[in-house]
Assembly symmetry: C2
Homo-oligomer: 409 residues x 2
Amino acid sequence: MASRKSGSLLLSGAKALSKQHGFAASAANTRSTQILPGFASPCSFSRYSYSSSAEGQKKILGVFFAAHEYAKNPEFLGCVENALGIREWLESKGHKYVVTSDKDGPNSELDKELADAHILITTPFHPAYITKERLAKAKNLELLVTAGVGSDHIDLRAAADKGLTVSEVTGSNVTSVAEDEVLRVLTLVRNFAPGWKQVNEGGWNVAAVVHHAYDLIDRTVGTVGGGRIGQEVMQRLKGFKLKEMLYFDRHSLSAEREKELGCKREEDLDTMLAKCDVVIVNTPLTDQTRGLFNKERIAKMKKGAYLVNNARGAIADTMAVKEACESGQLGGYGGDVWNEQPAGKDHPWRYMPNNAMTPHISGTTLDAQVTISPQFFHLNAFADCLRFFSSSVLGLLLHGWIFEFGFGF
Amino acid sequence: MASRKSGSLLLSGAKALSKQHGFAASAANTRSTQILPGFASPCSFSRYSYSSSAEGQKKILGVFFAAHEYAKNPEFLGCVENALGIREWLESKGHKYVVTSDKDGPNSELDKELADAHILITTPFHPAYITKERLAKAKNLELLVTAGVGSDHIDLRAAADKGLTVSEVTGSNVTSVAEDEVLRVLTLVRNFAPGWKQVNEGGWNVAAVVHHAYDLIDRTVGTVGGGRIGQEVMQRLKGFKLKEMLYFDRHSLSAEREKELGCKREEDLDTMLAKCDVVIVNTPLTDQTRGLFNKERIAKMKKGAYLVNNARGAIADTMAVKEACESGQLGGYGGDVWNEQPAGKDHPWRYMPNNAMTPHISGTTLDAQVTISPQFFHLNAFADCLRFFSSSVLGLLLHGWIFEFGFGF
């Protein structure tokens, strides 16, 4: 297929956030300092407004994975070769745009180039871990853009302390992730992957697949987080004739929305887990969610239930998940996020039974890349840099802030 | 998970068929000879009524795959070891019950035991190919029961010519197959399987997956066949915000049902195919559908579209599919049915790019097995053999007859 080349998702994402959080996207261009509810720290919105700066040329540093031979596809924007599709535009404005995939170790290209960069663009798919130490050495840095959703690879507290703005293309790949979650649920429940491996390797053993294959109908599914991805998943699962579709979130959806999605809120996480045959994680990684699915919590799940986590790997305890898959306490675990990326060759989630693991792909389909790419703004006559950056600055992701507003991206 | 152990599907299946085809299941016990619309051959319904026979002990022969170590799970009924869970019951009635997995070649156990069997039970998952020649040697044979849906492994014309009844547990695994079809659509569209293989083998290459990964939203999906499985698939896809959900069938669903499923009928197959990003096959294998997706028809599909076929392998031309996957005319092909089963080690569908193939599993989850197993009738006080067989004789599957009544199982 060709990618959809539609930018509607980003616009609707921006609108949705504006509505949800009670501020308009254009508010990001006010240069005012605001205090977010629930936090003591003042946060500057749009401290850095790119083209309105009088400082002339800026250096933008992008960190993306290398796509090698796959970069020949011009739709494949989110790689180092195609540099998010914004090189021509940035350079036409007189700015310097440097991209690299070399992000780890003390002598990385990232460290070298970050020293004098004004703007850093990163992605969750090839995360450049921006520590306090790295931030301290980035003397010119003013803005960190996450080309995707989820900026936990950045030390947000340290960024806030330095007065830096961290922005992301909120809502850009909500659909991509939600579709992938339905896929992983079905993959686990039907024991698909071992069957695929079997025939692709010349084998044929129906029993070896079927002995662990069930139907999803009449089962109970719960999402930890009823934010945008959580809601999109529930909408997609509505047609599967589940026994119950549950969500855990500190905030209730409206009765009308619950009816539309066919779901019911649970006020207590562990109470919900005890009811679920399938649990899907849809929360950001924060202090509150790190290690949320540890041994004790997994023990509270129904024996043999499935856990799908496309949110962040560190929300689940690595060894607890592995051991639960081995013991049968988990019927299987699936996700595309790992506590460190790329995952090490010896990461136990690679080799545990009943896994539906992949590299970090769910939010970066070719369709999602078109939506994520700031080129969209460019192509749609948002050529003015100010407008570009102010539109993409949809929220300052302070440590735990999204969590404070309820689960969900 | 434990299987659901609910028999509701089978009963509703029986009701649905009765309604759809205008005769009640109990009509199968009338011993009358009826002529089905559109066909010249007279067909005897329930020529054989098991426990009402005065002939005493009967020999029932079952052909199932061997589950080996997996048979230890008592829920795994559909294997030679657990013999569909009906041994105790049949033997308590004084009948002889022989099961085997050895079905191929001239000296197979099947051939040996079939010679004097009265009833043959087979499944589509480990199909015993019942040819005219085999039928000629089965002197006592009166009833052929397919423990599943789809009896194309039986020469139905030859069976009809011999006055034999062929029955199947219609509707028993509609849900299982429909869920699996959604899984395969997503697997192909998201390029999941190569990503899974990669990390399970210690690799990490996001680009190698993502370069061929799209979203399903805003795409057009069409089902060839709007029968029960087709409708269940459409219901499940409704939440995915497709551009259009189309179905091709000689019969229209009611306007109310179309609205409920969010679908639209296409009167011409090729017209529909030209619009679809994803095509799902939901027809039985008949003379009309054999080789339906040949080179010429695949060429009428959109370039890069995906084809999912859990119906029967012979509905698609083996080499045409392989070549289309290699050329990119098909973005991928997925299914669990092969033109011969088990598929040979050199079957090209095993090794073609972008395949979502497995052994024949979609209709035989543990949940489906509980529904398929005639034990259900037994457990639910349908202990009388007459009632058992008359209830499972839901229709004489004459060659092309279901097709005459419209696509769909």
